[in-house]
Structure formats: C-alpha cells, structure tokens
C-alpha cells in the first residue's frame, strides 16, 4: 500500500472513530490507527477522568444535602434577625421609617455548580487528550444513549458526571446487560426518570400512603434503552415493568439504614406478587425480580437490532447500510451483548474505511476536534457555553431520548452560524505561529480536497486560515 493511501486510511479512522488527529498524532501512531483502536478494545482501556473536585455519587448527594440544610439554616437565621430588628425598631418608634434589611442567603446553585464544573472539566479533558479517542467516543455514545438531564434539578446536576464514571465507563467494553443494570440502578437515573418515588399500589407503603406507580422509567427502559419503540411491548408491559421496579430507590435523609445517596431496594414499596412481562413470568423475589427482567430484556433480539442500528448510525451514516446493521446485531446476539466484540466488529467492517465520511460532527465533537487541531487551551466554561449555544448542552438533552444523531438536527442555519462564530473565535485564540496549511497537512491533510487546501492557503491571515480549516467540509464531517 502506498504511503499516501495509508495516511488517508489513518485519518479516516481517527475522524470516524475518534476526535480527529492532533498535529503529530499521525506520526506517533506508527501508521496504523485502526490497529491502535483494536488494541484499546482488547486492553479494555477506557480513560478514568481525574480531577480534584470529583466525588462519588453518594458523596455528592450527601454534600448537596448538607449544603441545602445550611442554606435553609442561614435563611431562617436571617429572617429571625430581621424580625428581631423590626420589633426593636417598633419599640423605638422607628418602625414606620425604615424597612428591615434581610441578608440574602448564599446562592443555592453554588455547590451543584462546583461539582458539575469539576466533572465536566475532567470529562472533556479525556477527549481533548485522547490519542486515538475510540473509547472516549464510545463513552459519549453510551452516555447519550442512557442520558440523564441536569435540568431535572440539583440532585441530577451533582450526579450526572459520577453517573457516567460509575455506570457507563466500566462497561464500555463489557456486557451490555451489566451496563443496563448499572444504569437503571444508579441514583442519577432513578431520580431523573422518577422511579425513586414510584410505589407499588399494593405494597405496604402504597396501602398506607395512598401513593403509587410512576411508569416513566419503565417506559423509557423499553422504548429508549433496549427494545426500541417498535420492539413488541405493550402498555400493559410498561405498567408491569413499572411494578417490577417499584422499590428501586435512593437512600434519603429520612432512611435509617445505609449511606445517604446510595441505591436502595425498599421492600415496603415493592409491588407484591409474580409479574408477567413480554410473555415471561417473573416470581416475586424482591430486587431479583427486576434484575432478572432487565437481564432478559438486554438479551432480547429487538435490543440487539436497536443497539446495532444506533451504533451504525452514530459511526457510519444517518441511514446506515442494512447489511452492517444486520451484521452488528448478529454479533451482539451471538456474543451475548459483549460490547468489546461488537466494537471490534465495527472496526473490522468494510464500512469502517470505505464508507464516505458523511456524518456531521455534533457540536461537542466539533468543539473538541477544533481544540485538538489548533492546540488551543481548553477552558471548560468556554467549551460548555459554546456547546450550549450550538444546542448540545453537556448532560442536558431536552428529553430522555438524548441528543439527535442526524444531520437534519445539527446542520441548521443557526447552528452553522454559531459554528462559524466559534471557529473565528478559537482561531484567534490559537497559540503558536504554525502556518495554517501546515496544520492542515498534519490533521486532515491526507483527505483534504484541492478546494479546501486552496481556500486555507489563500487566507488573508493566520486566524482566517485556521477558521477556514475548522469550517471546511472535511473538518465538519467525519
């Protein structure tokens, strides 16, 4: 194989399965990017985000609880002080003249914002610093597949990052069934999709308190996490799975046992009795009833097809080749949902190199790729703000179906205008003095069109040349 063809294959692999090459990466990889990715899968090498502010989920929820208590205490104290002052002034006969000054309590977004920013910083740095980036792209894929949204409230805001670290990352090259169970048991998901409050109508708590089912999590597990909307379940199955999952909750401040913020199965809330879901009978055996049901749903053929299609859509094309989807679904099924095997099958498919690079990078992918190519300093606040402006706020999709994965959603007039403004901004910030054409050569060079090369070479300034590189079709698409 000629060197130029090898170079092109490497760039295609790094664009499609990673965040694009940084200048120097192509040389450092020793000429086989796909081989490096296979090695990553075999070693199950998923980066672990690091940073000073990272906490476990239960620790984050405990700190949030303490923080809220403290805010409440200060507010009460301030009100009591104001009341005392008012009485004092009334006694002095000055009450009508001045109004009491109430000290405002500290902003209640402080701690949640601190934790969120630390998690975002550590998470995005993994992508900026990744050499091949395949594992990180899979983390993003699964995190969006099993998304939570921080707009739900402070408890999700403080756990969205630890959710990804605890429930997604350990299973990226493990079994799908294990990831599914880790996700559905995680406090962030139980809070986000309301299951922590769901109560079996005939359980002890249900009979006593007159509260009952919330079917939100059960529906989205089948519709969005596993079987897919045409996957053959009914409204009765939704209600049944909701009953099966009653009692799956999070330890709160009023529970007597266990650490606040941990998963808890509460038998008092669990709907008693056997349940029939998707034609299978599940005996009444507490938390095991749900664990077994989820294990079966994870192995359902509809799940294999649904996941295969989503993966192929994400990495290959908005409307992926049917043959590829079928192949991945078969591998998923035959390997019992082994995601390392499925990932290898994706890398080994002919489409990995041969399919044209037609997918538009999502806003966050574009931000990371732009930082990598230009060597600009990563600033978490800027990255978060830009992604939000382009419609992809970190860990905050507008619904539990996550962010869209098709061009129709991202190639919008406003979205492209913001990309342009961002490209201009980042190009002005780019350090060093390398010629934009040299940076082009060291990144998308082997696949760049003559038009893009010419456009970058003819730019009136270095900043303009870099911005043109970032906006070029070869850079926008992967």
């Amino acid at each position: 194989m000629a060197q130029s063809e090898k170079d092109a294959r490497n760039v295609i692999a790094l664009q499609r399965f990673g965040f694009g090459p940084r200048p120097g990466d192509l040389a450092a990889l020793g000429g086989d990017a796909l081989g490096a990715m296979r090695q990553i899968v075999r070693l199950k090498a998923v980066a672990e985000p690091v940073g000073e502010g990272l906490r476990s989920t239960s620790q984050a929820l405990r700190e949030l609880d303490e923080f809220r208590t403290e805010v409440q205490r200060k507010r009460s104290a301030a009100l009591a002080f104001a009341e005392a002052q008012r009485q004092q002034e009334q006694m002095n006969g000055a009450g009508a003249m001045s109004s009491p000054v109430v000290n405002r309590p500290p902003s209640s977004t402080q701690i949640p914002q601190v934790i969120f920013r630390a998690e975002a910083d550590a998470r995005l740095r993994c992508a900026v610093d990744a050499q091949v980036g395949f594992a990180e792209r899979l983390v993003w894929f699964w995190s969006n597949h099993f998304c939570v949204a921080v707009s739900k409230g402070q408890p999700v805001r403080v756990t969205a990052g630890s959710f990804e670290r605890e429930a997604i990352r350990p299973h990226v090259f493990g079994k799908f069934a294990d990831m599914l169970l880790a996700v559905e048991k995680h406090p962030a998901m139980l809070i986000y999709l309301d299951n922590r409050q769901s109560i079996g109508p005939n359980s002890r708590a249900g009979a006593r308190r007159g509260r009952g089912l919330n079917e939100n999590l059960a529906r989205e597990i089948m519709e969005l996490h596993t079987l897919g909307v045409g996957g053959g379940y009914s409204q009765t199955d939704v209600t049944t799975l909701a009953k099966i999952l009653t009692g799956w909750t999070v330890i709160n401040a009023y529970d007597e046992d266990g650490e606040l913020g941990d998963f808890r199965f509460n038998p008092n809330r669990h709907e008693p009795g056997d349940q029939t879901l998707l034609g299978t009978r599940y005996k009444a055996e507490g938390v095991k009833q749900g664990e077994k049901a989820l294990a079966d749903i994870a192995r359902h053929p509809a799940t294999a097809r649904f996941i295969a299609r989503k993966l192929a859509r994400h990495f290959i094309a908005d409307d992926p080749p049917a043959m590829l989807v079928e192949r991945l679904a078969r591998v998923f099924q035959d390997s019992d949902g082994d995601l390392a095997v499925v990932s290898l099958a994706l890398l080994d498919s002919p489409e990995a190199i041969e399919a044209p690079l037609v997918k538009l990078r999502s806003p966050q992918e574009f931000v990371i790729a732009a930082l990598r190519a230009t060597g600009s300093r990563f600033d978490v606040n800027q990255a978060l703000r830009i992604s939000q402006l382009m419609g992809e706020s970190l860990w905050n999709p507008s619904g539990p179906n996550g962010f869209a994965d098709t061009e129709a959603e991202w190639a919008t007039p406003d979205g492209m205008k913001v990309r342009l403004d961002f490209a201009a901004t980042i190009a002005r910030q780019a350090p060093g003095s390398a010629n934009p054409s040299d940076i082009l050569d060291a990144t998308i060079g082997p696949i760049a069109s003559a038009e893009t090369r010419r456009s970058v070479a003819r730019a009136e300034s270095r900043a303009q040349g870099l911005a043109l590189l970032l906006m070029s079709p070869e850079f926008q698409r992967r």
Binding site: S151, L193, D194, Q197, S198, I199, P201, G206, R211, G212, L213, N214, E215, N216, R219, E223, V229, Q235, V238, L360, R385, I386, L389, M390, G391, S393, S398, G399, N401, A404, E407, A408, E409, W410, A411, T412, P413, D414, G415, M416, K417, V418, L420, D421, F422, A423, A424, S449, E451, T452, S455, A459, E460, Q464, A467, L468, M471, S472, P473, Q476
Partner: protein
C-alpha cells in the same frame, strides 16, 4: 463564487443591506409584488413533553374531575383561583394574558384534542405531530414547511420561508422551503470576509452546509437590523424567562417588513410525571412562561398582531388520574390553543367525552374527540389561503376524510 447578485431584487437588497444580501438568495424564489393589504403571520408553538390539558384548562364542571385530580385539582374559589371561561371550563391561574385575550375574543381553547397517534412515546408522538404524517418515521419534513412550499409562488408569505427558532430547528419547520434560523446570540460575530470565504468553499464542496449557513447568515443580518444584536440568552426553552425571550425575538423578526411571516418555536419541560403542582408549582411556572410569550408576541408584533394567529400544540395529553407521585403519566387527549388578533375567539371548542372511568380511553386517558390536524387545517385554509385538497394531500397526507375546522379565523 456564490455571489448571485443578478438574482437579487433591488428593493429587497436595499432592505437588507448589501452584506446580508450577499449570501442568501441563490436558492430563493424571485421576490414578487406585495399581495393585497393583508399580511398574515402564523406561529406554531410546539410544547414538547406532553402538556397536561386537564390542568391547563380544567373541566371544573365535570363531576369526576375533582376526584381524579385530587390535590392538584384547580378551583374557581379561594386564593389563586382559576379563570372561569364558561360554565364548565376554567383556565389555569398562571395564564392571565390568555384570559384577557379570551375575553377580548382573541383566544380559543380546543379541548379533548389529539393527533391521530394513539401510542404513548414522546418521540414518536412529536414526530407525528410535527411531520403531519399518519405514522412516525415517514419523512424528514414538517407540515408547516410543506404548507409554505405549497403556497403559490407569488405569495409574499412563502418568500420569507419559515423561521425555526433555536439552534435545532423543530421538525415542523424543516423541509424544502427555505428555513431561517435564529436564537439569542452570545459569541463575537465572525467577520463578513471569513463568512464569504466559507460560503464560497461550501458552494463548491458541500451544498447542505451551504444552504444552512446561508440562511443562518441571512437571519443574523435581519436580527441585527431589527436591533436584536444584543439579546443575550437567559434560560433555555424549558425556562419561563427563556420562553419570553424566544418569543420576543421571533416577534421582532416577524414584525420586520423583510422578515419571515411564519415561525416555529418549541418550548420544553411539560413532562410532569412527578410533583406536577396545581395552581402553583412546576407546571404552573411553565404555563406562566407560555402565557408571557403570548404577551411578548402581542407587544412586539405591534400592528401586525391583528393579522396574527399563534397555534399551540403538544404531542399528546396525560393520564386523567394523577399517578402515585402526584404527577401524571403519558396519556392521549389534551388541549390546543389558538391566540392572536386574527382569531375568532372567546370560545372553548370541545365535544366533551366525559371523565367517568368507562368514558376514558383505555380506562386512563381523556378520550380525544377533536383532531388537532382539523384545527390546523382550518387555520391554514382561512388564514393562509391553502386549499382543502392541498391540505389533505401535501400538508397532512391521507386526511381527506378529516375536513378543516371552519370559522376559527375572524
């Protein structure tokens, strides 16, 4: 180069300023003469997440309502009492602007309404609502866009294209008719020279990106010309402040002489599974945001308000009975709103199905008796002048047996 200046009508170019005119017009139809004195505006607001119609407009006269809604039921008496609309329905207290417009004959409630979709997936429900197709997953274009594409080429409405507000254009506005895009801006603007060079590259290598960026540039120029350059985002589309801001921006653009006449907005956060709240609370806050959006449109459209109709629709309703967590799960029948100076309002349109257990759909949901597509078809027929045949074939395919609801427009 993409500088197709020969196709730009001079008066249009002057209205936009030369910088704006550089980019946008190569694929736009030729600008025609102004058609008549009437210049209708049409806004669609999609409420994503499924609005609880029984809380937005409560059937307080139905004997079963109170028991189903228990602690979150609205009442005509007491503090934060609901607005009585007629002897049967009451409007949520968080919506004083709508109440005022209703009294002034500029607002309609359509109750027990739904699309033809009878499952309970948000995403398929929104697909059906916005695509206007009988089933989900059939097309990547929306009914609003197809309505524009179907207007005769001389119509001034069609020329401006649809305005999709927000960085992600709602499906309802997507399609072959040009889509403008706008959202509150917060980045330093790329200079025109860079923009022109990028457009030049796209024109040679990537038509899809060329189309999108050209429309983005066009709207941006218009926004600047309308004095909206400094609008900063405050809260997103699920936040009452964000809703207000988005509405104000869309209204300013639509009020401009050269601005779009049709817009699609999406407000989020209506999926109230837990702690929905009654007269106050979660849902009340969002309804308040929607209500202030109406006021923003009324104010910023100015004299154009009299020619305006805003249609508010959602993918489906919520369960009639509150669930185990003082919220409501996915249901079917709900409300739609029509607001604006061109609405023949002051009415609740409802063929009320009742709330007794056996009257509920599947024993759980408000049974839909009015198809929102008939309502939208009625508005587009009388307000935008589309024919019944076009509406039944192109805009809402396979709805020949669903006649447009007439008499909605003043």
């Amino acid at each position: 180069m993409l500088l197709c200046e020969d196709r730009i009508h001079p008066s249009r170019r002057a209205a936009l300023g030369s910088a704006g005119a550089l980019f946008a017009w190569s694929f736009m139809p030729k600008f025609a003469h102004a058609a008549g004195g009437r210049d209708p505006r049409f806004v669609t607001i999609i409420l994503r997440g499924a609005l609880d119609g029984l809380s937005a407009v409560a059937p307080v006269g139905d004997p079963d309502y109170g028991a189903l809604r228990d602690t979150i039921a609205l009442s005509l008496s007491g503090e934060r009492s609901a607005f009585a609309l007629d002897g049967f329905f009451a409007l949520h207290p968080a919506m004083p602007n709508f109440a005022r417009l209703y009294k002034a004959g500029q607002a309609i409630v359509v109750h027990a309404a739904a699309t033809g979709y009878r499952e309970r997936s948000h995403f398929d429900g929104q697909d059906v609502l916005e695509s206007g197709q009988p089933r989900p997953g059939l097309t990547q274009s929306g009914w609003l866009n197809r309505a524009l594409a179907a207007l005769p080429p001389g119509e001034r409405i069609a020329h401006r294209g649809a305005l999709g507000v927000g960085p992600i254009a709602p499906l309802v506005a997507r399609g072959s008719a040009p889509v403008m895009g706008w959202s509150p801006q917060a980045l330093p603007r790329a200079d025109d020279d860079l923009a022109m060079r990028v457009m030049d590259l796209y024109a040679q290598k990537d038509q899809a990106l060329a189309r999108a960026l050209a429309k983005g540039m066009e709207t941006d120029k218009l926004a600047t010309a309308s004095g909206m350059g400094g609008m900063k985002p405050r809260g997103g589309p699920a936040d009452p402040e964000g809703m207000k801001l988005i509405a104000a921006g869309a209204a300013k653009l639509m009020a401009a002489e050269a601005g779009p006449r049709v817009a699609a907005l999406a407000f989020e956060g209506w999926d109230t599974h837990a702690n929905e709240g009654g007269a106050t609370g979660q849902l009340a806050n969002r309804l308040g945001g929607l209500d202030s959006a109406f006021a923003e449109f009324e104010r910023d459209l100015g004299p154009a308000w009299k020619d305006t109709i805003i249609a508010v629709v959602t993918e489906f309703g919520r369960t009639a009975r509150i669930n185990g967590t003082t919220g409501t799960d996915h249901g079917t029948g709900t409300v739609a709103f029509l607001v604006g100076g061109a609405v023949k309002g002051g009415r609740v349109i409802a063929d009320w199905p009742g709330l007794r257990q056996q009257q509920l759909l599947d024993g759980r949901d408000l049974k839909p008796t009015t198809d929102v597509r008939a309502v939208l078809k009625g508005v587009m027929m009388e307000h935008l002048g589309l024919s019944a045949a076009t509406l039944a074939e192109r805009v809402f395919p396979a709805t020949a047996d669903l006649p447009p609801l007439r008499g909605l427009v003043a």
